[in-house]
């Protein structure tokens, strides 16, 4: 369960996030949809304790992130938009390192790593160093790292950005699987097809504000349009974000 209420964050004269409130429930894939610069990543960074909001509150499983950052961090797994891999470590070492940082004992580490490697079908790259990885392989490693401590809440920043069709399918498959396990999945994207294909609920953000929030059907109904694409254009007032 991830909740944002009246989040605001400015950087100097720029207000990146003005007023963002939404909640993402367990067992549901929630998508933050917005064009570039809409405030998606800043919102995610506030939810993941990386940025302190100027105003408002971020809650993970009902815990105020500002008051319980450690406990909140235990409950989230994140895939940052810069995947943040260490060029000279192998895929396996990345995952093991993440586990070790979360205090998973050595004995438990190995089977968990193997399970994730199977799940993400990355057996062929486990012992290769990250410097030569393709985008898809990078995302897989970063995802495995995010899931290593079995978090209840998973936040993915542009998870399929730059991926080919096969990798995109694999990531979507994984996201559906996480939903099936009852996890709370929050993903951000600027690609509408991505969001409409994956998400049960959509939060449309523009200019740091939430413009629409609901299931695809609700958003269509509220905008008075038949399909999500039309609804999105009508809500956001421009065709930005439709460009792949």
């Amino acid at each position: 369960m991830i909740e944002a209420s009246s989040l605001r964050k400015g950087f100097g004269n720029v207000t990146a996030v003005d007023d963002v409130s939404f909640s993402a429930a367990d067992g549901v894939v929630t998508g933050l949809l917005g064009s570039n610069g809409a405030g998606k990543t800043t919102t995610l960074r506030m939810l993941t304790t990386l940025l302190a909001p100027d105003r408002g509150e971020a809650r993970i499983d009902g815990l105020n992130v500002a008051q319980n950052p450690r406990e909140a961090r235990r409950r989230i797994g994140i895939l940052p938009d810069a995947r943040g891999l260490y060029a000279r470590l192998t895929a396996r070492e990345h995952i093991e390192y993440a586990g070790a940082l979360h205090g998973i004992s050595r004995r438990q580490l190995s089977p968990r790593v193997d399970a994730l490697i199977d799940l993400l079908e990355m057996g062929d790259i486990v012992n290769r160093r990250a410097e030569g990885f393709s985008q898809g392989e990078r995302v897989k490693v970063a995802l495995a790292r995010a899931l290593m401590h079995e978090p209840r809440n998973v936040m993915l920043d542009e998870p399929t950005n730059g991926l080919d069709v096969m990798s995109t399918r694999a990531v979507r498959e994984l996201i559906r699987r996480l939903r099936g396990e009852g996890k709370c999945v929050l993903l951000s994207s600027h690609v509408m097809h991505e969001v409409s294909a994956l998400c049960d609920r959509i939060v449309i953000i523009a200019g740091g504000r939430v413009l629409a929030n609901g299931s695809p059907r609700e958003i269509c109904a509220a905008a008075g349009k038949d399909n999500l694409e039309e609804a999105f254009v009508s809500v956001i007032g421009s065709t930005q974000g439709l460009v792949q």
């Binding site: 950087f11 720029v14 610069g37 940025l51 950052p69 993440a98 940082l101």
Partner: protein, 237 residues
Amino acid sequence: MIAAIFRKEWTDHLRDRGSVFSSLIVPIIGPLVFLFTFSRLANSTREDQPLTLPVAGAANAPNLVAFLQRQGVIVEQAPEDFEALVRDGKLNLVLSIPEDYGKEFEAGRSAPVRLVEDSSRPETRRQAARARRLLEAYARRMSLLRMIARGVSPSLVAPLDLTDVDLATPEKTAANVLQAVPLFLLLSVAIGNARPLLLPCIVQEEGRSRSGGRDVLRVRPDLGDGATRKTRRCPRN
């Protein structure tokens, strides 16, 4: 936790051949270069090489020339245009003895000698200093002989009898070079190559250079202090 980070940093940085190489090479090669330069320098200042001294008008002061030769100086006949040659840097220094040297010397007056040099050249300065010392020694000896000839004890004008006793061995001098090693270690750290030697700095540096890596570190429950650290980063959407 700390152990895991330490292991990871070691693996990561030991695999960075470039920085391992340079972090080891700078402290090792640095003192060697140091040693080489200094021994070259020491060689050039050492005085066991004979001093070669071109003399103009050697025939005017055979006694002085003989003294110089006894002191190991290789006395050469100076060319006619020695002043121009010294000015052009083709000769280091020339001892010029004018014709009236003998007359003045015999009369017991100060006899003129000229040491022609270009003092802007360090090499010349050292040779000129050696020549000057020898000339002064000759002058001292002559003054002593004159005093003795007049029945004055030389120790009257020498209240002190100073002897320098230097017990340094070449090995001890060389050991000084080892003292340069820590300096070079520090230097290489400052250059930023010795990253494995300075682990605590790496985590910081990691953050600065790779924001993604930092984000992942900072959301670890026991590691990150997240937004409590003042961060003013531009938002990236």
